[in-house]
Structure formats: C-alpha cells, structure tokens
C-alpha cells in the first residue's frame, strides 16, 4: 500500500472507547484487553466491509460485541464476574453525601444482564444515540430503549435505593417513574 492516508489508521483513535466498552462487557481487565485485541484483528481484516463515511466507532463496537458473544458461547466455563475482579478493582470509598456511591453502583451494574449493560453504556455513557446503539447491537431502536429502561430500573432495585438511602429524591414518585419506564405506556402525573 502506498497511499499515505490509510483509513484504518483511524482505528487507533477509537481504542480507548473500545477498551471501555469491552470492559463493560467482560467486567474484567485482562478479558477486556483480549477482546479488544481480537476485535482489532477482525476489524483490520474485514475493513473492506466498512462503508467509508459511516460511523467507524459503531462498526468497531459491533465487531467487538459480536466477538464477545461468540467467544462466550464457545466457552461454557464462563462465569460472570459478579462481585469479583472488576468490582474489586473499582475501590472507591463509599460516599454518604446523598449521591450514589460509585463502588456500589459498579457492583450493581456488573450484575445486570449483558444486554442491559451494553445498552446503558452505549446510550448512557458513550454518547451513542438510540439509533446508533440499535445498529451496534443489531436490534430495533425500541428494544434498546426498553433495555435501557429496564437496566435503570434494575440498578435502582439492586442498589436498594428506596430503603434508607439518603438520596435527595427518594420520594415514591421518583421510583414510580423509574419503575414505570419499563412499561412505556404509563404516563406520570
């Protein structure tokens, strides 16, 4: 190849995001980096399938998650690192200032089903639109929305916020809102 500007050179700029997404899928540092490595190789070799001018990050994320799910299907021994390594590396002093403590949050997050975790990360953290997330996960937009909503509701439930957590707004109306978002029909007064 003699052209100075190989479009594949752009992959490198997405590495931090790929690692973060991989981390949210695997919940384990070493596994995340192995996953990124496999995804890079696949992306490189299949780059002719990428449509120039479209969203490279979404394309890379799609490869990454496909790699994740196919390798996971292969390895039966896969055990979710529910409160293991990932949660442990995330040691942050619990803060009782009325906000969700990050450590607790991450533990709860790690327990969510894969599809809710990825939907939340894509939409809530990586800045993907619902449409981009839907494309990445190869599902309908409505499916992503409902996964995000169920994920949020599940987080609230797992963290047991409604108990005695000194959250600013632990009024029952708030929880009704969050719980209701799982069923898009409900309107909140």
């Amino acid at each position: 190849m003699t052209n100075e500007q190989d479009p594949r050179d752009e992959i490198v700029t997405h590495l931090p995001a790929m690692r973060a997404f991989a981390m949210s899928l695997t919940r384990n540092n070493a596994a995340a980096d192995d996953l990124v490595q496999d995804a890079i190789v696949k992306a490189w070799k299949n780059f002719d399938k990428f449509t120039q001018g479209t969203n490279l990050r979404a394309w890379l994320f799609t490869i990454l998650r496909n790699t994740f799910y196919s390798s996971r299907r292969k390895s039966k021994r896969e055990v979710a690192d529910v409160d293991g390594i990932w949660a442990e590396t995330l040691s942050e002093k619990p803060q009782h200032d009325g906000r969700l403590a990050l450590g607790d949050f991450e533990k709860a997050f790690a327990q969510l089903p894969d599809e809710q975790r990825e939907a939340l990360i894509l939409v809530g953290a990586s800045g993907f639109s619902y449409e981009e997330a839907a494309e990445t996960c190869e599902v309908a937009v409505g499916t992503v929305k409902s996964r995000v909503n169920r994920g949020r509701a599940k987080l609230v439930e797992l963290m047991g916020i409604e108990d005695d957590e000194p959250l600013e707004l632990t009024d029952s109306a708030t929880f009704a809102v969050v719980a209701a978002s799982a069923q898009p029909r409900k309107t909140i007064a």
């Binding site: 490198v12 931090p16 973060a20 949210s24 490595q37 890079i40 969700l100 809530g124 949020r152 898009p184």
Partner: protein, 50 residues
C-alpha cells in the same frame, strides 16, 4: 412514549455514574500491545501487497 421530559434526578445520577465508569477506562493509557498489534497488521499488509 417520550420520557425525556420526565428524566428524574435519579436517572441523571445513574447516567453520571455510567459515564464515570466508562470514562475511567477511556482515560487510561492504551497499552502498548495495541499499538504494536496495529503496526504488525500494517506491516503484514504491506508485505502482502508487494
């Protein structure tokens, strides 16, 4: 169907935490193995193209 206008502060806190979790890895130094890998892939290609 539109729930954006009912985005609660709890929901905002959840998103804020999600971003923190995500950002933490994004801000990490990308391990050298990935740069090496990309360089390797590139080199391999330039050989194949000859």
């Amino acid at each position: 169907m539109d729930q954006n206008d009912t985005k609660s502060s709890l929901e905002q806190q959840i998103d804020e935490n999600l971003r923190k979790v995500y950002q933490k890895t994004v801000e990490e130094h990308v391990p050298d193995r990935f740069m090496d890998l990309l360089a390797q892939l590139k080199e391999q290609d330039s050989k194949d193209d000859k």
